[in-house]
């Protein structure tokens, strides 16, 4: 269960960012922003054989005492960032992967929509509902 999910465009501006609880939103925005550095570092690390060897799932970007940040990059350099609460007994890696997979699928559906201009913020209701389903329900 994530506390914050963000979709970052290639140019590193957010296409979609949603967090729960709402009050700490700014903190999560900041976290996502700083995590972008880590993402950049990871995707530039591969070097020569670009997308071939680079896996889409980046894994744990960095943990803090409160939460962990996971990253995922598509081949078009669109980044997905999931912030997970640490107190939530650690989710399996596979669960995180499946969350990213779902995000990716929904994102491609949004892209397929001819009324969506790449670069716009994502306002698709289907995408919203999918993300909401992934977020922490408790609060």
């Amino acid at each position: 269960m994530a506390v914050c999910i963000a979709v970052i465009a290639k140019e590193n501006y957010p296409l979609y960012i949603r967090s729960v609880p709402i009050q700490n939103e700014l903190k999560f925005h900041y976290t996502v922003h700083t995590s972008l550095d880590v993402v950049e570092e990871k995707i530039s690390a591969v070097g020569k054989a670009m997308a071939d060897q680079r896996e889409l799932y980046l894994g744990l970007l960095y943990p803090t005492e409160d939460y962990k940040v996971y990253g995922y990059v598509t081949n078009s350099k669109v980044k997905f960032v999931i912030v997970v609460d640490s107190s939530n007994t650690s989710l399996r890696d596979n669960e995180i992967r499946s969350m990213f997979r779902k995000l990716h699928n929904s994102f491609t559906d949004v892209m397929c929509n001819p009324f969506y201009n790449p670069g716009d913020t994502i306002q698709s209701k289907a995408f919203d509902s999918m993300v909401t389903a992934m977020m922490v329900q408790a609060s």
């Binding site: 939530n88 007994t89 650690s90 989710l91 399996r92 596979n94 669960e95 992967r97 499946s98 997979r101 779902k102 699928n105 929904s106 491609t108 559906d109 397929c112 929509n113 001819p114 009324f115 969506y116 306002q123 698709s124 209701k125 289907a126 509902s129 389903a133």
Partner: protein, 734 residues
Amino acid sequence: MESLTLTDVEQKYYSDLFVYCDTDNTKKVASNGKVLDLFRAAQLPSDVVLQITELCGATRLGHFGRSQFYIALKLIAVAQSGLPLRVESLNSVKDLPLPRFVVAKNEQEARHTAMYPDLENQGPYQGVIPRPPARGQVKKVSAHEVIQPCVPTVEPQPDTTSPVVSPHHSPPTSPHAWRKHKRQASGGNVERPPVVVAGAVWTPFRESQSGTHSILQTVSSLFQRIVSICYFPLNVSLANEIQRQSSSGYDDPWKITDEQRQYYINQFKTIQPDLNGFIPGSAAKEFFTKSKLPILELSHIWELSDFDKDGALTLDEFCAAFHLVVARKNGYDLPEKLPESLMPKLIDLDDSAEVPDQAPDVGYSGSPVEVTPNKSPMPSLNQTWPDLNQGNEDTAIVHPVPIRMTPSKIHMQEMELKRTGSDHTHPTSPLMAKPPELSEETKLATSMKFVTVNSGDGYSSSDSYTSDQDPITSVVTRQRSNSGTSPEGLKVVAAPPPPPPRPNASHSRSSSLDMNRNFAAHPTGPQQSGVVACPPAIPPRPLPTQTSGPHSGHRSDEGLAAHSTTSPQQIPEQPNFADFSQFQAFAASDQPNDDGEKHPESLPSTEGAGPLRTVKIDNQEERAAATVNSAKGSIMAPPPKPVRRRLKSEDELQDEALPPKSNVIATVLATLPSIPRSVGKDKKAIQASIRRNKETNTVLARLNSELQQQLKDLLEERISLEVQLEQLRPFSHL
């Protein structure tokens, strides 16, 4: 101004145009902007337009009154037909085609016109097409009634097969209005003719949406007119029937009527002549943008209607999208998910009127596979499950990943496993033996499983436990049942044993326990202490590998290292293993009584060196443990493995010490209250059961350690016995 004689058609047409331009709704003056736009749309050179405006007197007046407007239109027609612009020509030129306006705004008309190119051919407008009476939705067409400047002269309207974009066809109601014109007294029956402009088709709908309209009725009324005009010009009854049909009250507001469908199909044809083909996203975007809906809503409509998420619209998807657009235009809110009647597979079957080769369409969109978990607009819980399952299945089995699976799914799998052939090597074959007992054991196993699960060493988190309780339980149950029951059913050493019911197993174990006591002379204390829940759910961890380390050497070490953390959970299974071997012997003798007797008998069956067997067992157990641990919830892969392991172990294990533990487990099973399946129950029930399981868990952990020690001893004994067997065999088989 000179008097202007217009044909009735012209009259109507002009009045429609006037209304269109009459954005201020003054009914007297057409707004200049609109008029000029219209004139520009006439595709005349600007000087001609200027001349026209001058001629009609608008420049004098400074505005376009109705008469000026009409004159201007007439002049436009004159100009378009190539005649010199003269005031005299207004009335002198007969058989003048209606002025044509090519304008993006008139796309609504264009659609209609495209549909009904022969509209103009309806020379017999003066024919009798009695319009269906008012449908109650009509807005008084006051304009038409009020202004009747000209005597309606019935003139056959020369047909100008206007191009697709010709606004000739735009006012589908113009003949309608014309007729109304004729029966002037008919009252504002007719719906206000859809003004020939952008949103013209939509606005009347919106306006007319009074009272009881369903979107169906509004749209259908329009279609009725269109259809009756075009296709059934003289078929009054049919027109009435259509109206009746439409107003008969559809339960489903989203259902598409035949006329609508025809309209949609025709529109589809304008974009994509091949009815089996696709409309690419960009073309669809342009088309629907014309409807003037906000992009956000169009985007939502697209999401709903593009069923297969391929970025293109098939005929059905297009119809659905168009229908949604029409609905939205009429003020209906967009649904969250695609209504049933708009789903492609249904629509395909309904549409029988149009497409000649329907089969490809049906084949394409008729497949229910449309509803892919990821893409289906229908929200379903199962959407999450496949992903998780896939992910879990991808990983190595050793990875302990809980899979969220609904109990139904698990049962399905169980049943599938049961149904699979009784392949000897098939890991699931034991399951086949006794499905009914499986359910029994499942119930018993639930409690076991809870304990086991909760005692997991760093396994899936508690939340996964809660959701996985039943699946895990059933998994464990299956394993347990296999382990516990299979030996009893074993007639032949190698055959997959039908799992006898667990209670029997417990009994047999207890009896064997007695024998074991005699045999092993072990203290029964630990056995009795272990009365508390001893969950046999999880297959034996490499505990045997640990204990039999000296026996098996490196292999057990590996197992040990890998699964040391899982050892506590192995112990519960150990008894099963031990039991299996004994039960195996029991099965042969039909009653488990004398372990001592059975052991020699079973020993021969276990051919091979004792150490080998232990190693095998170790590996099996360790693998079984691993699989079970990793699976936790994954039903498919892990259960077979433990089952297989158990089979082998049944064949080979000869540990007498294990029965005591199994006995403990049995007693635990008996003592544990049957915890109801958590899945589907309230959260509280689940939490309560979790608490209970945790408690039993701690007790079991204690028992575990004790049993481990016991196991060590027993395994040593077993080895010694096997050695003896080896020595004895040459003599016994001879």
